[in-house]
């Protein structure tokens, strides 16, 4: 017969490294109140205002021709800029993470530069280059080409704004992973592309996806930079965020929030994917810094 030993009643001591319950719940309360006012309610109001006048108005606002063309343009801009920055991100990460060379830290700083430039200025610089008074303005006019107030300008501004996203997700991970696996593949006779496709890419695929998700969200939602170069021509050079602005300024609030709700849904999907991928990247980073290399 065995009896489980009865533990002595613990003395009423508080754990020395936790706070009293009232402090804990006050802090949780403060944090939740702050997030409620600045996050949850602003998110909720988008959907509430969008559906205020019913599903009929909502659907009409979303399938109306100007809205459809805005959605198309937003998709086109993202479909061009995301792959461009993806290729760039991979190339930049390959040379920065796998090689030691002069000027590397300068290159790293320059890659992050677009993040610290105001969106408005990001648009302005392309006006200075391609606008009618800009460097190539006359040449473009003589050849009947349009960059500013047309789709190419919108794409360029979007590429600039989303420039660092993929690179800055890949670089730290690939630096942590080191070069041993690639060198082993090289010694075993693999060529450059084989090393990249079979060794490097499988090792970074989640971080790559993570960068693409963030890049895409920003590309579809960019407002300031695109606003400067777009010219706001309805049905032609309006992206979804610009379309929202026009509707809002015309006091078509329900329609503005209806289109806004599509972008808010995209944001929520992005956050969900981001969260899922983040867990995988964490694992990969842990593997890179501990286990594998030992």
């Amino acid at each position: 017969m065995t009896t489980t030993p009865v533990p002595l009643a613990p003395p009423r001591l508080r754990n020395a490294t936790t706070e009293p319950a009232w402090v804990k719940w006050t802090l949780i309360g403060v944090a939740l109140a702050f997030l409620t006012f600045f996050l949850f309610i602003p998110l909720a109001i988008v959907f509430v205002e969008a559906l205020k006048k019913g599903w009929g108005v909502y659907l009409a606002a979303v399938v109306e021709p100007d809205a459809v063309s805005a959605i198309q343009l937003t998709l086109i801009a993202a479909a061009i800029s995301v792959p461009m920055n993806l290729v760039f991100g991979v190339a930049a990460a390959w040379c920065i993470a796998k090689f030691e060379f002069k000027g590397k830290s300068l290159l790293l700083t320059l890659i992050d530069l677009p993040f610290s430039v105001s969106p408005v200025i990001s648009g302005l610089i392309f006006v200075l280059v391609f606008g009618l008074q800009g460097w190539f303005g006359e040449w473009l006019r003589d050849h009947d080409l349009k960059v500013i107030f047309a789709v190419p300008g919108i794409v360029l501004a979007t590429v600039f704004i989303t420039f660092p996203f993929v690179a800055r997700e890949l670089i730290p991970l690939m630096q942590a992973q080191g070069t041993e696996q690639e060198e082993a593949a090289r010694v075993l006779g693999a060529n450059g592309w084989q090393i990249f496709w079979r060794v490097t890419l499988p090792n970074v695929k989640w971080a790559l996806l993570y960068g693409v998700i963030l890049c895409n969200a920003r590309a579809m939602g960019e407002f300031g930079a695109v606003s400067v170069v777009s010219g706001h021509i309805r049905g032609q050079t309006n992206t979804m965020p610009l379309h929202i602005e026009i509707l809002y300024n015309e006091y078509q609030f329900a329609a503005a929030f209806a289109v806004a709700s599509l972008l808010a849904l995209l944001a929520l999907v992005t956050l969900g994917l981001k969260y899922a991928v983040e867990q995988r990247v964490k694992h990969q980073k842990r593997d890179a810094t501990t286990g594998v290399n030992e």
Partner: protein, 282 residues
């Protein structure tokens, strides 16, 4: 191996490598960076270089421009400060405590990164308007005043402090706190004298990131600000206004001032991050 190494490899590599692709990757990176970022950015500086110094000075110190700096820098600073205080509480609560829906709330903290600024702008305006969900309970006006600018800049800066503090808090060794407690420190003393100094560099970094982001923000602000010259007009909007009046030089001059401010901040943030890493002993 070294014999047939390319010019780029011989000139730049500081450590020999057997891996291929350096020339191609670096060449493409530098070319793409130049065409998309460096050359267009240099256009702003070259454009202002064509202005005379007095013309530049007049453009960037006109009363309306000065008023916009005051609002932009002031509201950005206010928003970043609020985020430093509440961001610390949010990060602490998310790392240290368990409560319902914690993971969901944690994921949602990034919303200001993911939500397009125009959407945030109209949502905040509707909330804080005088008949809005929150505005109707406030005894003062928020939407269409400088206070609205502050609200919008607080929203977009929210994730920065939380996300820079979280990893530091997660890595914090419990031993420090145990040692402090053993030596007779109260919980508050432990926080103030042991935990806070470790968090300080990350807190400052998060604050600076939020501040830098707020300085250039446009989309979420213009809906809620009311955009009255001298009162609630932010600097990025003033740049657009000048552009729409075909005053390219005036617009670019102000843009250069903002760019220089942003670059100085970027250098400061880089230094801060280096300090934060050395503080954590990494």
């Amino acid at each position: 191996m070294l014999k047939d190494a390319s010019f780029l490899r011989r000139a730049l590599l500081t450590r020999h490598s057997v891996l291929p692709g350096f020339d191609l990757a670096l060449g493409f990176t530098v070319l793409y960076l130049s065409f998309i970022v460096l050359i267009p950015l240099s256009a702003a500086f070259l454009k202002t270089a064509t202005m005379t110094w007095p013309a530049f000075w007049d453009a960037v110190t006109a009363p309306r421009v000065l008023a916009s700096y005051r609002l932009t820098f002031g509201a950005s600073l206010g928003g970043a400060l609020i985020n430093a205080v509440f961001g610390l509480v949010v990060a602490w609560v998310l790392v240290r405590y368990d409560f319902p829906a914690k993971r969901f709330i944690d994921a949602l903290v990034d919303l200001p990164f993911a939500l397009p600024t125009a959407v945030a702008g109209i949502a905040l305006t509707a909330l804080y308007a005088q008949n809005g969900w929150i505005g109707q309970f406030l005894p003062f006006k928020v939407s269409f005043t400088p206070l609205g600018v502050f609200v919008a800049l607080t929203f977009i800066g929210l994730p920065f402090v939380v996300r820079t503090l979280q990893p530091v808090l997660e890595d914090l060794h419990k031993e420090f706190e145990e040692a402090a407690a053993t030596l007779g420190a109260s919980r508050w003393q432990t926080f103030r004298l042991v935990i806070f100094p470790i968090l300080a560099p990350a807190l400052l970094t998060g604050f600076a990131l939020a501040f830098a982001r707020a300085l250039g923000e446009y989309g979420s602000v213009i809906f809620i600000a009311g955009n009255m010259p001298m009162v609630s007009e932010i600097t990025p909007l003033l740049i657009i206004t000048k552009l729409e009046q075909y005053d390219y030089q005036g617009a670019t001059a102000i843009a250069v001032v903002m760019l220089v401010a942003a670059f100085i901040l970027l250098l400061g943030i880089n230094a801060l991050q280096g300090w934060a890493r050395s503080r954590q002993g990494r």
